[in-house]
Symmetry: C2
Subunit: 416 residues, 2 copies
């Protein structure tokens, strides 16, 4: 496997759902979960692995595994990320990690076949279903169902905005399996950073030690429908005016916190009935608040609730609150990834992740290692997302070296 082969495969993978014609200066992807574009990308990666002796099978929540079993019945090192994307997203988020996993796994399987490597566990590559939470809410849907944090029946019943369920969407692309997938006793993921820490430090590898606390929630603002032309200001209950105040409250909470201590945002907002000349009757929006510890997030939520209670002319409520606590990742895994980075000559840095990743879901149940490469200008969830090719290749090398050590049973035997 040459460096050129990896970059060529990455170009090929970026064709599935490409947002601009070939040759355009900036090309992203729109490859939301269980769309034909996502299905085609999965098939292409899986066919490559099947050709190298991996057995391909989706589990009952549509995570697609490609596995190789050297030790019958033994658990597996699982390598992977996600091939689904946000709308108008970059080509690297998730897809880079799945392709790197496929390349690393192929290389390691060849080493085992050649007698150069003696594995203490089996190996699988995975594309976790609906990591982004763009088509189906919540995010990390497939990996959270795999670990049991999300109940299978609940997950299968979740609907997109058009009313299509996860179960029907998976059936539609032939990816609804019946089994639970391989049992992971180690999980390893490579991802782009999506921030600027590595770039600012001039370092090509990040080893993630922990994640930020996150609260995700829906807010419903209740107003009263009226005529924008005929209704006096005193008679209005404008749900959009109330929602606008709350959007700005979240921004102010983040802006007034000490630098780097809080993020707060609204990504989706819908207005009802959303007609010109009609005072909005109802607004629903999805927000997220993030901080290093649960405490910062809880305090911000309390301040947000005060702002909701202080609204005049309309009322508002929070619903579907989901809190992801901060969690320390496997310390021995951090040290192992640093050793692997040094082995291949890459500089590395420890850092926390503010964004969620499948690895964070997995880390609740399985010793997990999460490795980052830099993002140019910290840009992500944007077609302009990019990473220096040398950094992309360094990531694949560190991933492969870390996976090799995990297959061998490092660190300290296979039972910690």
């Amino acid at each position: 496997m040459t460096p050129d082969a990896f970059l060529a495969d990455l170009d090929q993978l970026s064709e599935f759902g490409a947002t601009a014609p070939a040759g355009a200066a900036v090309r992203g992807v729109d490859r939301q979960a269980a769309t034909p574009e996502h299905a085609a990308a999965r098939r292409w990666v899986a066919d490559g692995l099947a050709g190298n002796g991996f057995g391909v099978e989706p589990d009952r929540i549509g995570n697609l595994f490609a596995s190789i079993e050297w030790l019958p019945g033994a658990p597996a090192l699982v390598l992977g990320s996600h091939l689904d994307s946000q709308p108008a997203a970059g080509r690297l988020d998730g897809a880079y990690g799945v392709l790197a996993a496929a390349h690393a796994a192929t290389r390691l399987a060849a080493e085992v076949a050649a007698g150069e490597l003696t594995p203490v566990r089996n190996l699988a590559v995975v594309d976790w279903f609906n990591e982004e939470g763009a088509r189906f809410t919540p995010s990390l849907l497939g990996s959270s169902t795999y670990t049991g944090a999300l109940a299978l029946t609940d997950a299968l019943a979740i609907e997109d905005l058009a009313g299509v369920s996860v179960a029907d969407a998976l059936r539609g692309i032939g990816c609804l399996g019946s089994g639970g997938g391989p049992v992971a006793d180690r999980y390893l993921e490579l991802h782009i950073e999506q921030g600027r820490e590595l770039e600012n430090a001039g370092v090509e590898i990040g080893v993630v030690t922990r994640n930020w606390a996150v609260a995700k929630f829906t807010v419903v603002v209740h107003g009263d429908q009226a005529h924008t032309g005929a209704t006096a200001l005193a008679d209005r209950h404008d749900a959009l005016v109330g929602a606008a105040r709350l959007v700005l409250t979240l921004r102010e909470l983040a802006a007034e916190a000490p630098p780097g201590q809080l993020l707060a945002s609204v990504g989706r907002l819908r207005v009802f009935p959303n007609s010109p000349v009609v005072v909005p009757a109802r607004v629903e929006f999805e927000a997220d608040i993030r901080g290093p510890e649960t405490e910062q997030v809880s305090r911000a939520l309390r301040e947000f609730d005060t702002a909701m209670a202080d609204l005049t002319e309309v009322t508002a409520e929070r619903a579907r609150v989901k809190v992801r606590p901060p969690r320390e990742l496997w310390p021995d895994g951090v040290a192992l990834a640093e050793k692997a980075a040094a082995e291949v000559g890459a500089r590395s840095l420890r850092l926390a992740t503010r964004a969620g990743h499948d690895a964070i879901a997995l880390s609740a149940r399985v010793p997990t290692v999460l490795i980052f490469v830099p993002s140019r200008d910290g840009i992500s969830h944007n077609v302009a997302e990019d990473t220096d090719p040398d950094h992309l290749l360094a990531g694949v090398e560190v991933l492969t070296a870390t996976a090799r050590r995990l297959l061998r049973g490092e660190p300290g035997g296979d039972d910690e």
Copy 2:
């Protein structure tokens, strides 16, 4: 025609697109332009008029006319309003005026047939197409095309949010005609007030003397898509934060103006890509600013432009600005409607309309009379919209008496 017959017909008409089952405490309608519900309502009204000797024909922009021609080639008094509605709207807005026109026209045609009335012009009832501007933007689409203010080819090409053109939608309900409809030399409309002036004054009839100035426009806020979890505040260009500031700017402009001098609202707002965990890249919204004179509206627009220019982190632009100037309605018509009100024993009040009506579009070309009845609590564009039945019946009586005088050639001959 008994009062009971009118109210029974109004109940019947309210079934088309009813938003709640029969017997519910509050029942509105959802009968957007050229939907099956709108088509069924038109057919029911037209069939009633056809049975009374009126000839029914849509014009080339889907206005549906029911005409009776006593004087071959002579122009007509046109009575009407609109049967389309906003989403989740009241049952009276527009529909009351069309049904009242049908009842008045039937009664007057019987008087002509009986030799009790000698008309100097012909008579037509109309359902103007897409008055609300809910499905297709702009509002007053059919009446503005009839007067020539909107070009026919432009109007037919307008698309709804699903990409269906006016032409295709009209073809779909069999309402795309080829002619221009009857030539109106007088236009008369009865409508609910949608405000509280008549109720506050305890008067059952309003005679409209003029309309407020209105500017309707689209605002596009340009941000940059990013990850809500990973992107530092300093790196954000959040289009929704910018849009929220502008929504509140409009509210503040209205709140800070002298009482009753300015309204400013946002009815429709859309976020792109509108995905959880994605900083919005673009927001588009439709706003309207209204004031008694063009000057108040222009000043507010200038202040809004300053607020757009003052935005940090994102840029914004105004597009598709449409200004409807204030216009004095036909003074002799106002006096005539007052005389008709007195004749049937109704109290009347002169007032201005802040909301747009087909009558305002017509008044640019045709001597026009616009009559209001009260709205309970000023509620409109809401399923709870309502009017006292006595006021509804008084409106029909004043409409009929005014139309009778116009058919006779009042005031002062038929050529002013």
